[in-house]
């Protein structure tokens, strides 16, 4: 497929998709969204790059291999389960930093459930990339 429109558009759409996916990832704790859906959106950014004829770039975020994302995502998710055990809590119990205000973004809540979601986000990206590569007939390295 060699559409010049898609070719140009992909360059401008991939990054916004990634940013939207991060926003969806963040709001997902109490609203629709989260790591899984965010990860799918981000993976759409990757695929758009791939399918529009650019091929995967040599450098930068969009060049990373599924075998970078998968262990990273799973590792983050596992890591997020542990801080709960340090205090009085238990395995997988959420630990939150005190909320703080940021201009434009409002009240920010950071905690281990967010780390878990980020892990899921990475893992989903890795999974979709692996799936895409396998369907396209590439041997994963």
């Amino acid at each position: 497929m060699n559409s010049i429109l898609l070719h140009i558009a992909a360059r401008f759409l991939s990054w916004p998709l990634l940013i939207v996916s991060i926003w969806i990832l963040y709001r997902g704790h109490n609203l629709p969204g989260g790591g899984f859906i965010g990860g799918l959106l981000a993976a759409a950014g990757f695929l758009l790059y791939d399918l529009s004829g650019h091929g995967r770039p040599d450098r930068g975020f969009f060049s990373l291999s599924p075998f970078f994302f998968l262990p990273l995502g799973l590792g983050l998710a596992v890591f997020s389960t542990l801080p709960g055990m340090l205090g009085a809590g238990t395995f997988m119990q959420g630990v939150w930093l005190p909320a703080f205000e940021l201009p434009l973004l409002g009240s920010i809540h950071l905690g281990t459930p967010l780390i878990f979601d980020i892990g899921v986000w990475f893992a989903v990206i890795g999974f979709i990339l692996l799936l895409n590569g396998t369907l396209a007939g590439e041997e994963p390295s």
Partner: protein, 503 residues
Amino acid sequence: MNDLLLISPILLPLLLLIGCLASSRHERRSSVISLVGTAVLLAACSVLLFKVSTHGTLTLAVGGWMPPFGIVLVADLLSVLMLWISALVGLVVLIYGINVGSAGTRPGHVYVLIQGLLLGVNGSFLTGDLFNLYVWFEVMLISSFILMVRERRKKQLAGGLTYVILNLLASAMFLCGAGMLYGKLGTLNLADMAVKLSSVGDPEFVNTTGALLFVAFAAKAGLFPFHFWLPASYHHAGPATSALFAGLLTKVGVYALLRIFTLVFTAENGFSSTLILYLSMATMLIGVLGAVAQYNVRRLLAFHIISQIGYMTAGLALGTHLALTAVVFYILHHIAVKSTLFLVGGVLEMKTGTADIRRHGGFYQSQPLLAFCFLVPAFSLGGIPPLSGFWAKLNLLQAGVQSGEWLFLAMALGVGILTLFSMVKIWNESFWKAQPSTSDGQPNTSDLPLARGKPYLAMLLLCALTLVFSLGGYFVFELSARAAANLADPTLYINAVMKGVTP
């Protein structure tokens, strides 16, 4: 500290999976990570076993969500016994060499899948939540399916497809049953479910959902008439992989049956277990008849799994304390014995290049050590005293006498003789008779790679375990009796889970 210990059988395989995934390009590194990590897992499970056997059942409400709302992990004596032996089998299979005798395209990825399998198995043993059990079953199914077909041979794919389709059907039944139970009772926590189901007073509902779950677990366990996937698929997987499957996969089904049908669907709650007894007897007979007719060594052994599963579920159907004790003992004995036999079968296949035992021969003379590794588990499986199979069968038969199930008694004895017969068949064909020559006058040999030391170390370890179960039978029997006491009295489990929570 207890929390970390209790979660480690799930956390460790997950961490190892990530480690192996990150280094999947380097087979050697993955194998070392896997081996060392699984040894640590075995150590953790041993500590957990010691702790639970001295301090009683441990529970962990994941995320601090108290039962019946959150997922709760429960380690009672049965769970930790199963965890311990599955970690041991995992370690032994890794020592044997998971890639030995198979030509997978990506050797490094195997270790990821092995850890995934252990993760699913351990999760199933620990969880106290019906839906969570379903999730662990799926983790196990996916890992085992890919392990089974990873060499991409046509026969493997055919067997693997049967395996995955029948197991997915079973999973659908499981989901239906779980959905109905959740709709009626509003809970997925097993302990809470047991309490609420006793006050439902609707035997039709109890028996319908019970039957759905029974079919689901029976298919995983390989019970007649849901056993077809097992002899179709196991012998096509690599030798070490099939030993792991033989040891663990069906036993997870048996564990789930034991757990759910002593805790939730009991006679007091209106569930009728007569059907389980008759299906078990049919399973015993059909499995062993299949084995008698077979000449493919690992396929023959696969049919034996089915037949032996029948003994275990028959004990569950009898339901007395002695019967449940015998079942727990039987499971432990069977895992050790069956994994050894599959490993030996794998060596036979690799040495001769064929699975057909009619073309084997002379191994007693050429490989006395291998003959020893076969004799111990084979005699144990056949129930020759003083090996572990004898104690397992003796107790089960005693339980049968106590319950007055004479048909079961006759069946168990008859199937025992046929079991011994088919073990003797392998012995005669592969070990005793002279090595046959092929048409061009050359003896059968194979060019498949087989390391010299490690596979034998693995088989001897499992033989030693069988001997421990045999000679230390009293100690193991005592542990089994205590695990069975927990099963026979569901209030113990319920109180351990719901402590400090008002229903």
